[in-house]
Symmetry: C3
Subunit: 270 residues, 3 copies
């Protein structure tokens, strides 16, 4: 256990509670309620707004912007670009979740466009999605990653270099890479895979952490560890995915600094 890094994670977590940053999310219809709730439970303020008439103004008030293409359509993608450019001009971090990249060419193309046209701070996906965006063959069935890609660290590092961002590959062991650092996060629980939107919720949590911590790879690793720790605590009370979800929301809300210092499992590999 790296006590130093655990303390940092707990400290960022405390900063969210104190600053209550606004996290502007242009996201998908399936998970909006869940991502709004988890953002609130961690201590930040969520806002969902996608109309071209207001996204720039909303983003300008936010500590972070989350873009998630889970149920993308053309006008929403335009709003993502509008909001994204505003975020870039103000130095507000953007977290991109390329849901289902690889499943359809529209999703792959849109993800790449957003990566190329905006300065993304954190790109978070499963191994299939990130593999596709990294040009190796990830297999994506709908929005699920099927099978693992080879050398995920190299893929993450190459993408991080190409786009100057932090790249997160979620999985049993999360990989977080930027130009200079690699972290692994070993928190989490299998029950997360039985619910829809758990990837999207992780992305929202990363948004909350990046809103208060400019070292984005550290913020992403801390957010994922805290998220996974809450899942571990919740799993003890779960009898299936329904009761797990309830316990998970309770756990995120009730997490203490002490539990985080004791429970997060972040490995700094580089």
């Amino acid at each position: 256990m790296n006590k130093e890094i655990n303390k940092k994670a707990a400290e960022i977590f405390q900063r969210i509670k104190k600053q209550k940053p606004l996290v502007h999310q242009i996201t998908n219809f399936v998970v909006m309620n869940d991502t709004a709730n988890i953002t609130l439970h961690i201590g930040a303020l969520p806002v969902m707004a996608h109309a071209k008439e207001e996204v720039e103004e909303m983003t300008a008030m936010a500590g972070a912007l989350v873009l998630n293409i889970g149920t993308l359509q053309a006008d929403w993608v335009e709003s993502m670009k509008l909001a994204g450019r505003k975020a870039n001009s103000l130095g507000i971090p953007i977290i991109l979740d390329p849901v289902g990249a690889g499943a359809t060419s529209y999703r792959t193309k849109t993800s790449l466009e957003l990566l190329q046209n905006l300065q993304i701070s954190v790109l978070r996906g499963n191994s299939g999605e990130i593999g596709v965006l990294g040009g190796v063959r990830g297999e994506v069935k709908g929005v699920e990653s099927i099978g693992d890609i080879k050398n995920p660290e190299s893929v993450a590092c190459e993408l991080a270099k190409k786009y100057g961002c932090t790249v997160v590959i979620s999985g049993k062991r999360d990989i977080i890479a930027d130009l200079n650092n690699i972290y692994y996060v070993d928190n989490g629980h299998e029950l997360l895979t039985t619910l829809t939107g758990t990837g999207c919720m992780a992305t929202s949590i990363i948004g909350a952490f990046c809103a208060v911590e400019k070292d984005y790879s550290l913020a992403a690793a801390s957010g994922l560890a805290v998220y996974g720790l809450a899942a571990e605590l919740a799993a003890k009370k779960a009898k299936g995915p329904g009761s797990f979800k309830v316990a998970f929301f309770d756990a995120v809300y009730n997490l203490t600094t002490e539990e985080i210092i004791r429970g997060v499992r972040i490995v700094k590999a580089k």
Copy 2:
């Protein structure tokens, strides 16, 4: 305890169960599932429909129309106006929730447009939103009200006069004002603030109450008191926002006339 008013609240509640009014809701993507469920649990029938091809026909069947701009976009606003004009022509009450008014100029402008072009029966918001619409400086961060406005009663009364409607400011003590009456509602629980959409759900409940009671300020006060009472009962079983939400839905569904007569705390101040 004002036993007379509590009995009235319970009586309106019973009328919902008996008449099962349809509550047509043009609302936001984040809360649709929750507002549909709470409308069902209180005893009314929810329907969500926003296409310009059908909103007038749907509204014509409804006992109340709920308009909520939480994730507004231009064509939905047009449908709100279409549905609203139909509701006005048939004397069906409209309940407006100006979610995030003040956060962006688009939300403020749209809320004012709806207030000016339609005869709204009940306007319900938090103090930031209502403050902005009343021309005093409410502070809104995303969709959350930050800090309280001064003299909320005066703001509510002035808006009520200006638009000929009932104005509700939700808060620890809810304020309900129309031209001739002021009510306070002291029911509620802090856990409501840990969940997304609890303001929107309160608005839907007011919709159900207004569908069966033409004294809209009394209906709004009764609805809010019943809603807050359910939250109080649920809080006893909650270990956090996840389990609170579950218990809250159970409580709304299981509420009895007796509990309402005993438990609602409505003060008629004028």
Copy 3:
């Protein structure tokens, strides 16, 4: 108890767990989270995608396509047709849920258009909706069926003949009819009527069953029986609609082959 048919139902259920078919759903905003979750819990993979740029490609990967008009709008209906034609060209079953048909002419017209332009495999609705589509007077209030239609079997059989599909009328006793078969399903629980989206979730479950079983009326009957059985098991732990929903998701996830063989109540009447 027809042990043979129960074994078949259990066998189809096992096939879902093994094959994990993708179920592409173009559905409504109210229920997306719930239908995605229940699809996952039964063992299939849900994907929601509605953009004209990608629906054909997504459908082509799927084992079944679910079309649900609960919050329809013109461009989504166009995407349903695009996806539907692709499904037809590839022999992928389409399950249609005509939510609120009869409530507005737009919903009735759209349902009939989809039935006429696409080869639907399973049409599932409540008695009001199916009655309207069958040309007898079903009464629909919003999205709820009010009162029962006369001779529902004849209506189902006539529609099945007219459109060459399986027709399901959900109710206390579900009716499943195609050209040659009639099944009844007696599983279910009254608490299902206290939640929004339980019809939509049943449709998604039928989608998962049809993705792995080409005898669509058997698949629909099996899916409904399994769905209703999970509701029965969940009801034992429920204190209201909130806790019922949680227990229901747990129950769907935890169902075993043995419970299904013992618990489903399917009657083959023809």
